[in-house]
Amino acid sequence: METSIAINNLSLSFGNLEVLKDLNLDVGKGEFLVLLGSSGCGKSTLLNCIAGLLDVTGGQIFIGGRNVTWEEPSQRGIGMVFQSYALYPQMTVGGNLSFGLKNAGLPKAEIEERVNRAAKILQIEPLLKRKPAALSGGQRQRAAIGRALVRDADVFLFDEPLSNLDAKLRADLRVEIKQLHQKLHNTMIYVTHDQIEAMTLADRIAIMRGGRILQLASPNEIYNRPASKYVAEFIGSPTMNFFEGSLEEIGGSYAFKTGDTVFPLDGYTFQNGPPASGDAWFGIRPEHMVSGAETANAPVRLDGKVELVEPLGSDTLARITVGERTLWVRLDGQADISHGDAIQVGFDPARANIFDKATENRN
């Protein structure tokens, strides 16, 4: 796979404040990479550095094999879509799409062809004569994508493009962006704080925190094998259930001991081979817990009491207490339980995630 964007030892600081710290990242040609993190993690800053809207303080940026570290944004071969759309309000949609091209001195025919092609792809042809103020939020965002599209760039940068839209529209446009990517095969870097957008759109997700990338992997990998406790807690809703305890080796096989309960870890694949024994977190996702008849096959079974039930239709969330511990369990939507019921839940430790207590890294 060809590399489209390479970021080498990138750092950025404002005065004493280090926003990006010695960051390395390679994005493949045609890859859809999502930068995911909570606010202030540096994801938008990284995107702005790639776009050339912020001057880096250290490191290099390559786009399409070209060192663009000192290039102007317009020279980097990128198109960008902003959260606030940033459409030029007094120009029509067509004017917005063609303004940059006119300024670059492209021939009229070429401009027209590009605008029409972009409009066709995005199905905004009827809107070309309208001004942004006369458009709905979704149409505006489509026009903004169109402005990036006409630049014929190899790389598209999206800065939280759907955050200003309502939930329904967000879901629709998410699908459209995915289709657009499947049609165009451009490299896309997409910044968001919404884990659903990240999971659904990304080929790979980079989870960021404090100006660093904590984990860079496919959505599947991030969900199933989070590299650290932070990532495990960040992805998934309701959040992963954690048990505090210690790893112990008992007769050649490992087990996790919490209080006087022991979870055998025969099926668990350790990250770096069998670890040293020690204090650890044991995490299991609510959806990896079962109840009712299925519990019979589960290697670990716990008896608890239903404290709270949240029926969501498709499934039911239940908060149960096991001893002094509270756990979230995702059950079938038809599960017939209610507050105060006794319940037995089970899970397979092979699906669990174990993190070292001190480093919070995956064991």
């Binding site: 796979m1 390395n24 290099q60 790979r204 590299a227």
Partner: protein, 332 residues
């Protein structure tokens, strides 16, 4: 296209699969000092910029020149006021004083003559203070209550009166001057400080009312409703909730009024008598009097003295002043 293209690069391998995952470091690219150095030849790091780029020279150069121009009158006033008359006649108005004298300041404050009065600007200063204090207090009290009633207790016609008030702010004062003279004369206040205080209250009303109305309207309605549910009435809500919450806007209004009223000339000259003239009027009479020898140093000292009150307010209040004029200007 293939899903999840995994990049294989010497130092940065992270291939998703659990079995062949490298050491901890590769899971956390770019983490800390252990990250590999991948810098290759070519541009790296901060784009080199000259501190004295053409752009910076242009921006700072223009601003500095313009600022010097803006400071020039103040500078000239100060140096002139510190020179003796002989030095002024010989020298250059931009030159700093050879021999600093404070005599012009003393004379301007205590001895300069307007007509028959020769007790200097001090009379005007105290007149201005006597006008300023009640005018500021009265106009702010009235306008804040007006604004509160308009924002939270609308009644039939309230918006109409408010619109008239705002439109009235655009009417040239000259149109309303004489009818007010008649009204004040009828109640026997023409030529008195009280009359001038009323005039300032009237003409400060549009902008101040607007200021308070907009501010009170931005206070969350829930708070107001909660107070209503708790049984608080018009005055209780005003004094116990609105006023304590709105101190910044009261300060803004005060800045606006103090500078505005202190700097007023037209109303002062029309609605007061010579021995009650505010400082601006008296200053103008001292400087522009046609009798006697012109004492430029005394004139400049007097001018600075008159400008001192608003300038002090300006430099102390800083951002609030800007906010005041912006609030007054943008919506007025």
């Amino acid at each position: 296209m293939t899903k999840a293209p995994h990049l294989l690069k010497a130092s940065m391998t992270y291939d998703g699969g659990p079995a062949d995952t490298g050491p901890d470091m590769s899971l956390r690219p770019g983490s800390g000092a252990s990250a590999a150095n991948r810098i290759v030849d070519g541009p790296a790091g901060r784009k080199p910029r000259k501190a004295l780029s053409r752009r910076n020279i242009l921006i700072y150069g223009t601003l500095i020149v313009v600022c010097l121009y803006y400071l020039l009158p103040l500078y000239v006033m100060i140096v002139t006021s510190l020179k003796g008359m002989p030095e002024i006649r010989l020298g250059n108005i931009f030159a700093p004083p050879v021999e600093v004298t404070f005599q012009p300041w003393v004379k301007a404050w205590a001895e300069a003559c307007t007509g028959l009065n020769c007790d200097g600007l001090s009379r005007g200063f105290f007149n201005s203070v006597k006008i300023l204090v009640p005018s500021v207090i009265l106009s702010i009290i009235i306008a804040s209550i007006n604004g509160y009633a308009l924002a939270n207790w609308r009644f039939k016609g309230s918006e109409t009166f408010f619109t008239i008030l705002i439109v009235g702010a655009f009417i040239p004062y000259q149109v309303m001057i004489y009818p007010i003279v008649i009204m004040l004369r009828e109640v026997g206040l023409y030529g008195s400080l009280t009359g001038l205080v009323i005039v300032h209250t009237i003409f400060g009303m549009p902008i101040l009312t607007l200021l308070f109305r907009n501010y009170f309207a931005s206070v969350p309605q829930e708070l107001f409703k909660a107070a209503r549910v708790d049984g608080a009435g018009f005055w209780a809500i005003y004094f116990q909730i609105m006023v304590p919450m709105s101190l910044p806007i009261f300060v803004v209004a005060m800045i606006l009024q103090v500078t505005g009223i202190w700097n007023d000339f037209l109303f002062g000259v029309i609605y007061t008598k010579p021995d009650l003239y505010p400082m601006t009027v008296q200053l103008n009479n001292i400087v522009n009097s046609t009798q006697g020898v012109k004492e430029y140093n005394v004139n400049m000292a007097a001018t600075i003295l008159t400008g001192l009150v608003p300038l002090t307010i300006y430099f102390i209040s800083g951002k609030l002043f800007v906010r005041g004029i912006a609030a007054g200007a943008v919506k007025g």
